[in-house]
């Protein structure tokens, strides 16, 4: 064999190497993009609005406990149509372009829900009775027959769907009657239910849940009809098909990034998810199959996940986002106001702090001591110091059950006796104490600066009247558990948040043995009112009952609401029509009214 001269061999290797490189090169190129300006041509005409959100999307079924978080609800608000939405009051506003809710009869309470003809999911499947039945089945716990022992351990039977909301009220319904058109259902309640108008049988697409659970989507209504109602007195073996269905409903829509199967994020509303850049942003584009009236002006909505408030403010300033809704603080507000061209809106939120007295503690057994203690609480001073710097129009909250601005609030505060506690009355408190010096241990979360400041103000004021105040401040990790141990405190400063609508939440705060009634308050008259309230469907009658209870609660010196937490939202120069909203949907509540700035 002829051997190559070393230099030639080197040359040959070089040529071979070049050949390999050339091959690799051709494999590693893309096709040329037509024109040099492709990005501009593809851009949509109606523009994009970008919103900053603190948390990242984590799922598409907001009716489950894990899915029911702010960001998921926001994406659902953009992508899911429904029978109604809540405005800033908040009041229910019906969306007749999706369907109708008809109160057929008040006694027995009967409601018919009808989806309009031609309303479909984004895959073309009509939204009809099976979707509504699934939502109802999940919300009502109709099929559950689980038995629990005293320790809360399940001993027999099944819990199928685990909804985020309470089944109370919806569980009064019998199996819905399905209309002949196949897109209406009628719910009949065995007793009137106060918050019936806040229930809507909408949710995730039933045909997708059925397919994923291995059931026939066509026969879903019949399948549900064929199942017996769960009976706790007679717990059964799990129905495997319902179990599969419920399991998928419970966990099948939780994600860390956009699922490859588009049927898992179908839309029925004006927008549909088009992209989810994990950890960064989610992009919504127009849902082409949307036929409703809430048609937005923007072609695209981008929600960016920005956890840090300062980062949100600077991103707004730099034009990277258009709408922010950061945690309100004096620093945030000051830096927002320093930016030109940005509209800053402030107002209340749905969260409020209050001080509750422990009715089981010795010191507060005497109503006079309770009254004396409440008289010393400097609420006006606390609001002035903590809240007005952020929301100059903030007022002291004077009702235990209603929010400022909600219908009935003005009537409530005129009569409920809150006027007696409007101002600090040290003299009056001294007279009531008549020389006693009771010791009050006030517990609070000492990692929350507002609550620390409120405590210090109350301490200073109450000591003037002769109270001895013990500092019961607790760390962030333990104060929640301490709420449930009332023997460790006499008064507790903590917060509630509310969605602003609905009345059936009241009994659990002010009723005997209520889950949120940590101070052990108990008044049979109030309990009787609650019993009546939860089965009263008429809004005027509801308000009357609430006002009645309100007076009793104040007369018993339950405690005092302190202040509503302020909120702030800021809007960049590219968007018009954003309105402040204190409630859960935040600034996006009227997104279809937003317009690009001219």
């Amino acid at each position: 064999m002829r051997t190559l001269h070393p230099r030639r061999r080197r040359f040959a290797v070089g040529v071979a190497g070049l050949g390999v490189a050339a091959l690799a090169l051709t494999a590693c190129t893309t096709t040329a993009e037509p024109g040099d300006d492709t990005t501009d041509d593809a851009a949509p005409t109606g523009g994009t609005v970008t919103i900053a959100e603190v948390n990242e999307l984590s799922g598409f079924n907001v009716a489950t406990p894990t899915g029911n978080v702010d960001i998921n609800n926001q994406v659902a608000y953009f992508t899911q149509a429904g029978f109604f939405y809540l405005d800033t009051a908040p009041e229910v506003v019906y969306d007749e372009s999706f369907g109708t809710v008809e109160l057929v009869s008040e006694d027995p309470l009967t409601v018919t829900y009808t989806v309009n003809e031609g309303v479909t999911w984004s895959d073309g499947e009509p939204i009809d009775a099976d979707d509504m039945i699934l939502a109802w089945a999940a919300a009502s716990g109709y099929y559950d027959d689980a038995v629990f022992d005293d320790a809360g351990e399940q001993t027999a039977g099944n819990v199928y769907f685990t909804p985020a909301g309470s089944t109370a009220g919806i569980d009064l319904t019998s199996f819905p009657e399905v209309g002949d058109d196949g897109r209406s259902i009628t719910l009949t309640y065995s007793e009137p239910f106060a918050d019936w108008n806040l229930f809507a049988p909408t949710g995730v697409p039933a045909h997708v849940v059925a397919e994923q659970a291995g059931l026939d989507p066509e026969g879903l209504v019949e399948f549900f009809q064929g199942l017996p109602e769960g009976d706790e007195a007679n717990p059964q073996e799990a129905n495997p098909e319902l179990r599969a269905l419920a399991d998928f409903w419970n966990t099948g829509f939780d994600f860390a990034s956009l699922p490859s199967d588009p049927s898992l994020y179908l839309a029925s509303g004006p927008y549909i998810v088009s992209e989810w850049d994990a950890g960064q942003s989610v992009t919504l584009v127009r849902n082409e199959s949307y036929t409703g009236d809430l048609v937005p002006a923007f072609d695209q909505v981008v929600i960016r996940f920005i956890a840090d408030s300062t980062a949100q403010v600077q991103a707004l300033q730099n034009g990277e986002v258009d709408i922010i809704n950061p945690q309100a603080s004096a620093d945030t507000l000051a830096s927002l106001e320093a930016i030109s061209g940005v509209e800053v809106q402030t107002g209340p939120t749905g969260s409020y702090d209050h001080i509750d007295l422990n009715f089981g503690s010795e010191v507060f057994a005497d109503p006079a001591v309770r009254e004396a203690f409440l008289k010393t609480i400097p609420r006006e001073q606390i609001v002035e110091a903590l809240i007005r710097p952020l929301d100059p129009e903030a007022e002291v909250l004077n009702s235990q059950t209603l929010f400022i601005g909600v219908p009935g609030y003005d009537d409530a505060i005129a009569n409920n006796g809150s006027a007696d506690f409007a101002e600090v009355d040290i003299e009056g408190a001294r007279e009531l104490l008549a020389g006693q010096t009771p010791t009050v241990r006030i517990a609070y979360n000492n990692a929350n600066p507002n609550r620390v400041d409120a405590f210090l103000a109350i301490q200073a004021s109450a000591q003037e009247a002769g109270f001895i105040i013990e500092d019961g401040g607790l760390g962030a990790d333990v104060w929640g558990a301490a709420l449930g141990q009332p023997d460790t405190w006499d008064a507790f400063i903590f917060g509630w948040s509310t969605v602003g609508v609905g009345v059936v939440g009241n009994p659990q705060l002010f009723g005997t043995g209520g889950g949120g009634n940590f101070g052990g308050y108990s008044n049979p008259e109030v309990d009787a009112i609650w019993d009546e309230l939860v089965v009263t469907a008429d809004p005027d009658a509801q308000l009357e009952l609430i006002l009645e209870a309100e007076n009793l609660i104040w007369a018993d010196h339950f405690g005092l609401p302190l202040f509503i937490l302020p909120g702030v939202q800021a809007i960049g120069p590219n968007v018009e029509g954003v309105e402040y909203n204190a409630w859960q949907t935040g600034p996006i509540w009227n997104f279809w009214e937003w317009t690009p700035a001219s």
Partner: protein, 513 residues
């Protein structure tokens, strides 16, 4: 050697088990995972608490829950079984899905930052060692420690304010006022004269030349609206390539070596030829193309050095290769700059290119050049913040290492034989001064996977640091544990590598028996 490695691996495994156990207990004890539910006023609060307790096994005491977690995590060791179960977080998301996303962002952010910090740390450390106790040394020391001491969120806010928002505002109407031009020139003059040093006359000359040159360049850039339409172009690029060739030759061989200079210049000429021939190819390029073209060019540069031959063949090959590689980087930068205007005018950028949050612009699409610029504008600030913070430790290590080496007898010997200062520093001192780095660079690179908690938070990059801190604030042990295990394993491996490499690099240290 093998037994040493085996012993280390065995001990590390035990260590890891113990550490994860403690970590699990600490996380579980750090708070109340049901806190938000306890505050809820939903009527079905107890039911919600029950569901979450079941989802996260909260009814099992933490020490036993650890073993539940361990049994899932242990299945990750079974190869190809895909049985890995790191549990779910409080939102019922699989940790095995969250982890790669977080790891990807973190590596993207921290690799660049760490490499840049090492490169600049070495350069600044060596220069300040060579100019020990001069104004330059003291100023650098002051500045790096100032950056080191500033909280990173504060640096981040400043960077965003001045480099992102300020620079974007400047781009809307890019005009540098004459006072600023003079200021830039003065500052640059002061820096250069302190680096180059020498007697007073030389300092004044250096100051004047560099001040005038810098001001002049900025004035020129201002005049041709360079900040709005940046580019290097067919005129400046060849000049830069030749400049690189001269600089490389100066550092590696000294300009008196004609053969070295010619090698450098040939490599530069090759690069210039490449520049003119690849523009069409670049339009349809992917990252793979760029790497291949770059490798070929570098190989060609090395080949030039090889054929230059002679007793110093190795040095020539280095000169050719480095010149070609650096020139190629400039060519690539030039191509990115050609896409700048498309990027700048894209409607999702809207004339404000430097970003303050995130890793990319949502809804932006385009070729690799557009997307590359987008990554650059997003990672610029967080990278800068991380580099500024971590520069201090590298400069100090390198400076100390260099000073120690310069005081060694063999350096005195080298000087005594009449070697030039360049040869003494570059050939005899430089490499040995880097040996101490071998102990902590692997560990630093390993620490990359740990992310940067605060920097990720303020720049909204959802990396490992974010995964960790969010999970911790939710008292959510599963993501915390996943984070901890990944970081611990990588750091243990890096430590082993550091120990072994030290033994290889420094003959004074014997390989452990």
């Amino acid at each position: 050697m093998l037994s040493f490695i085996l012993r280390r691996v065995f001990v590390s495994t035990l260590l890891l088990l113990g550490a994860t156990f403690i970590m699990y207990l600490l996380t579980a004890a750090s708070g109340d995972p049901l806190r938000d539910l306890r505050e809820s006023r939903e009527p079905n609060r107890d039911e919600l608490i029950r569901i979450r307790s079941e989802q996260l096994n909260l009814d099992v005491p933490a020490p036993l829950r650890y073993f539940l977690w361990l049994s899932g995590a242990a299945r990750c060791l079974i190869p190809f079984a895909n049985a890995c179960d790191l549990g779910v977080n409080v939102r019922n998301q699989q940790v095995t899905e969250l982890l790669p996303i977080a790891l990807g962002s973190t590596i993207q952010l921290l690799t660049g930052a760490t490499l840049l910090a090492i490169v600049f740390g070495i350069i600044i450390g060596i220069v300040s060692a060579l100019r020990q106790n001069t104004g330059f040394d003291l100023t650098v020391t002051f500045l790096v420690f100032l950056m080191f001491s500033l909280p990173s969120f504060f640096i981040a806010v400043l960077l965003k304010e001045f480099i992102a928002i300020g620079f974007n505002d400047f781009l809307a109407d890019p005009n540098i006022p004459p006072a600023v031009l003079i200021g830039i020139g003065l500052v640059s003059g002061i820096i250069w004269q302190s680096i180059i040093g020498g007697d007073r006359r030389r300092r004044i000359t250096v100051f004047a030349v560099s001040a005038l040159a810098t001001s002049g360049v900025f004035a020129l850039m201002d005049a041709i609206n360079w900040f709005r339409f940046p580019g290097i172009g067919p005129v400046a690029l060849p000049l830069i390539a030749i400049g690189i060739a001269i600089l490389t030759t100066t550092l590696f061989a000294g300009l008196q070596s004609r053969r070295a200079l010619v090698t450098g210049l040939i490599a530069a000429a090759l690069s210039i030829a490449t520049y003119f021939s690849v523009q069409g190819l670049f339009d349809i390029s992917t990252a793979g193309t760029i790497i291949i073209v770059g490798s070929i060019l570098t190989a060609a540069g090395i080949a030039v050095g090889f054929f230059a031959g002679g007793y110093d063949r190795g040095v020539y090959m280095r000169i050719g290769g480095v010149t070609a590689a650096l020139s190629f980087i400039v060519i690539v930068i030039d191509r990115f700059m050609q896409s700048w205007d498309d990027y700048f005018t894209d409607r999702s950028i809207n004339g404000r290119p430097i970003a303050t949050v995130g890793a990319s612009t949502p809804t932006l699409d385009g070729d690799m050049w557009i997307l590359g610029i987008d990554s650059f504008t997003h990672f610029l600030l967080p990278t800068l913040a991380l580099v500024l913070i971590s520069l201090a430790s590298y400069t100090r290590y390198v400076r100390a290492g260099m000073l120690e080496v310069l005081n060694q007898d063999y350096i005195r010997t080298a000087r005594a034989k009449g070697l030039g200062e360049r040869t003494v520093v570059m050939r005899h001192a430089f490499r040995n001064s880097l040996i101490p780095l071998a102990t902590f660079i692997p560990v630093d690179i390993a620490a990359v996977v740990g992310g940067a908690i605060i920097t990720e938070q303020v720049f909204s990059i959802s990396g490992m640091g974010q995964l960790f801190i969010r999970a911790l604030s939710n008292v959510d042990p599963n993501p915390v544990m996943a984070y901890f295990v990944i970081v611990a394993v990588v750091v243990l491996i890096a430590n082993l590598i550091a120990d072994l490499s030290y033994a290889v690099l420094d003959p004074r240290v014997k390989a452990p028996q």
